[in-house]
C-alpha cells in the first residue's frame, strides 16, 4: 500500500534534518506511482502531487516524527476534498415530468443504471417511467423492458422509431398517466461520433432534462478525461454515475474526471442487481484509489 511504501522511503531518509529537493521528489514519486497505478490521468496526477508537495513542505511534515502518516493524511484530505461535492442530489425542480437522461460510452452501464434509478426513485415515492431510446443495439429495448417488468415500472420505446419521437411520445404519455419522472436510456456512443453526439444534444435542447448523467466504467483508464471533457463540451451533463465499483478497479478515473470537468460523481453502481446503486462516498473512493 502507499502507506507502506512511504514508510519505506522515509525509513531510508531518516537521519536527515531537512530533506533535499531530490529527497522530496523521491517521496512525491511514490505518490505519483500509486496514482498512475490507480488509473488517475497522468496530468491530473502531476498536478495533484504538486499540491500535496506544497502542503507537505509548507506544513513541514516531512521533518516531523511521523512523516509517512502525515503525508498520507494530506494526500487523503486533498483527494476527499477534490472528489466531494455539495451538489450530489438529483435535480427534481421544474415542470413535470422531471426528466433524467443517461448518456455514455458503449457498455458503460446506462441501461442497467436507468432501471436502478427508476427502482430507487420508486422506493422514494416517485412515479417513474422508463424510456428506451436506444434504437441501434439489438434487443436494447427488450433489455430495458425486462428490467422494467422486474421492478414494476412502465417502459416505452421501440426500435422502429426515432429517438426524438420516442422521447416526445414518452413525455406526453407520462403526463397523461400521472408519472412525475421520466428516465431516458440512450444508446452507447463514442464522444468522437459527431452524429451520435448531435442526437443527444438535440434531445437535450428539445426536452431540457433536469438531470443528465454520464455513466462511466470504473475500470476506465487514461482516456476518461478525453471522454468526460468531450461529453461536457458537446452536450454538457450534471453528474457522473461510476459503474462496476464491485470489481477491483481502483477507479482513478473518478479523480481525473472531477478534476478536469468539475462535475460531481452522484452515484456508484456496485453490482448487476437492480438494488445495487448507492450514493457516491468521496472518502470511500479516496481510500480505494490510494489502495
Amino acid at each position: 500500500s502507499l502507506t507502506d511504501r512511504l514508510q519505506d522511503v522515509f525509513k531510508r531518509l531518516r537521519g536527515h534534518a531537512k530533506l533535499s529537493e531530490k529527497q522530496v521528489q523521491e517521496v512525491m514519486r511514490e505518490i505519483r506511482l500509486a496514482l498512475l497505478e490507480a488509473d488517475v490521468n497522468f496530468k491530473v496526477a502531476k498536478e495533484f502531487v504538486s499540491q500535496v508537495q506544497e502542503r507537505a513542505v509548507g506544513q513541514e511534515v516531512l521533518q516531523s516524527l511521523t512523516p509517512a502518516q502525515q503525508v498520507i493524511k494530506i494526500v487523503n484530505e486533498e483527494m476527499v476534498e477534490l472528489l466531494g461535492s455539495k451538489e450530489n442530489a438529483v435535480n427534481f425542480s421544474g415542470k413535470l415530468p422531471v426528466t433524467i437522461m443517461l448518456i455514455g460510452l458503449q457498455g458503460s452501464g446506462k441501461t442497467t443504471a436507468a432501471a436502478k434509478l427508476a427502482r430507487h426513485l420508486k422506493s422514494k415515492g416517485r412515479s417513474p417511467m422508463l424510456v428506451a431510446a436506444d434504437v441501434y443495439r439489438p434487443a436494447a429495448v427488450e433489455q430495458l423492458k425486462v428490467l422494467g417488468e422486474k421492478i414494476g415500472v412502465e417502459v416505452t420505446g421501440s426500435a422502429n422509431q426515432k429517438p426524438l419521437d420516442i422521447v416526445e411520445k414518452a413525455v406526453k404519455a407520462a403526463l397523461k398517466a400521472g408519472h412525475d419522472t421520466v428516465i431516458i436510456d440512450t444508446a452507447g456512443r463514442l464522444h468522437i461520433d459527431s452524429e451520435m453526439m448531435q442526437e443527444i444534444s438535440q434531445i437535450k435542447k428539445r426536452f431540457k432534462p433536469q438531470e443528465i448523467l454520464l455513466t462511466v466504467d470504473a475500470m476506465t483508464g487514461q482516456d476518461a478525461v478525453n471522454v468526460a471533457l468531450a461529453f461536457k463540451e458537446q452536450v454538457d451533463f450534471d453528474g457522473i454515475v461510476l459503474t462496476k465499483l464491485d470489481g477491483d478497479a481502483r477507479g482513478g478515473a473518478a479523480l481525473s474526471m472531477r478534476a478536469v470537468t468539475g462535475k460531481p460523481i452522484k452515484f456508484a453502481s456496485v453490482g448487476e442487481k437492480l438494488e445495487d446503486l448507492e450514493p457516491f462516498y468521496p472518502d470511500r473512493m479516496a481510500s480505494r484509489i490510494l489502495g
Binding site: 458503449q106 439489438p138 434487443a139 433489455q143 430495458l144 464522444h191 475500470m219 483508464g221 487514461q222 477491483d248
Partner: protein, 276 residues
C-alpha cells in the same frame, strides 16, 4: 547509455508520458524506454525521428507473441469460448467473428450461454440472424454449461465446423462466477477440447485489464485476446503489459459496432497508432 545522452531528459520523459497516457502503465513504460535506450546505443542513433521508430519497433515486437488467427480443432468441432468482464463487447464480437469465419468458408453456430442478463439471448439471436447462423439457446435462467454442451452436440450432429459460446459478463473478483466459467469449459470438454478461449478486453480499460487477464488466464486458460472499441480515442496500451507478462496473443481488434468491424491484429499498425 551513450546514445541516450544525445537525447535530453525531456525527450525520454515525453516518451514515457505518451506511453502512460496510452494505458501502457508506468512499470511497462519504463521497461519500453529502457529497451529503446539500449537499442539506440547499439544502433548509434542520433536523430529523434529514428528514436521514434525504435519506440514503434520495440512495442510492435513486444506485441508479436504467439499465433494470431483462430486455432481450429483438427479432429472435430472447434469450440471458441468467449469470456470477459461486463460490457466489453463479447456478444457483438461473437457476431463479428461468426461473420468473419463464415466469409472464410466455415460453418458456425452460436451458443447463447449467457442465461443471466436481461435480453442477452435475444441480443445474440438477432445477431445470429443478421450473420445467417443458427443460435442454440435454452430458457433464460437455465444452466449455461448445458447450453454450450447442447450446441456442441448439435454441431457434431450436423457436421458444423465451429461453435462460438457467448458467456455472461463477469467480474474476475466474483469467485462463484469464475467457477461457473470453469464448469462451462469442463462440461464442453466432455465432448471436444476447447481450442480457443478468447478474452474480450475493452480498449478503454486501464491497469485493471492486466488483473483481468491474469485472473481469466488462471481460471480458464486464455488463448487469445480481442481488444474492442479501438475506434474510440483509447489506445489499449494495457495489452503491452499483458502480452509481456502473460504471453497471450492479441488475435483481433474491434473497431466499431457493425458486423464487419473486426480486424486481425497487426502489431505494427497498433504501435503506429499508439504513437500517433
Amino acid at each position: 547509455a551513450l546514445a541516450a545522452r544525445r537525447f535530453d531528459e525531456d525527450f525520454w520523459e515525453n516518451a514515457e508520458e505518451i506511453l502512460i497516457s496510452a494505458d501502457v502503465g508506468l512499470p511497462m513504460s519504463v521497461e519500453v524506454v529502457e529497451a529503446v535506450k539500449t537499442r539506440l546505443t547499439a544502433l548509434k542513433v542520433k536523430e529523434p525521428e529514428e528514436a521514434l521508430q525504435a519506440f514503434k519497433d520495440v512495442v510492435a515486437e513486444k506485441l508479436s507473441v504467439g499465433e494470431t488467427g483462430i486455432k481450429f480443432n483438427p479432429d472435430g468441432v472447434t469450440v471458441i469460448l468467449v469470456v470477459g468482464v461486463n460490457g466489453t463487447g463479447k456478444t457483438t464480437t461473437i457476431a463479428k467473428l461468426a461473420n468473419y469465419m463464415h466469409e472464410q468458408g466455415k460453418t458456425v453456430i452460436l451458443a447463447a450461454a449467457d442465461t443471466f442478463r436481461a435480453a442477452a439471448i435475444e441480443q445474440l439471436e438477432v445477431w445470429g440472424e443478421r450473420v445467417g447462423v443458427h443460435t442454440v439457446k435454452h430458457r433464460p435462467g437455465s444452466d449455461s454449461a448445458a447450453v454450450a454442451y447442447d450446441a456442441v452436440e448439435a454441431a457434431q450432429a450436423r457436421g458444423i465446423d465451429a461453435v462460438i459460446v457467448d458467456t455472461a459478463g463477469r467480474l474476475h473478483t466474483k469467485v462463484n462466477l469464475m467457477e461457473e466459467l470453469r464448469k462451462i469449459k469442463r462440461i464442453v470438454e466432455r465432448k471436444v477440447p476447447v481450442t480457443e478461449v478468447l478474452l474480450v478486453l475493452d480498449a478503454t480499460t486501464g491497469q485493471n485489464g492486466l488483473i483481468q487477464a491474469r485472473q481469466f488466464k488462471e481460471t480458464v486458460g486464455v488463448t487469445g485476446i480481442v481488444l474492442t472499441k479501438l475506434d474510440g480515442t483509447a489506445k489499449g496500451g494495457i495489452v503491452v503489459a499483458i502480452e509481456h507478462e502473460l504471453g497471450i496473443p492479441i488475435k483481433f481488434i474491434g473497431v466499431g459496432e457493425k458486423m464487419h468491424d473486426l480486424l486481425p491484429f497487426d502489431p505494427t499498425g497498433f504501435a503506429e497508432a499508439l504513437f500517433s
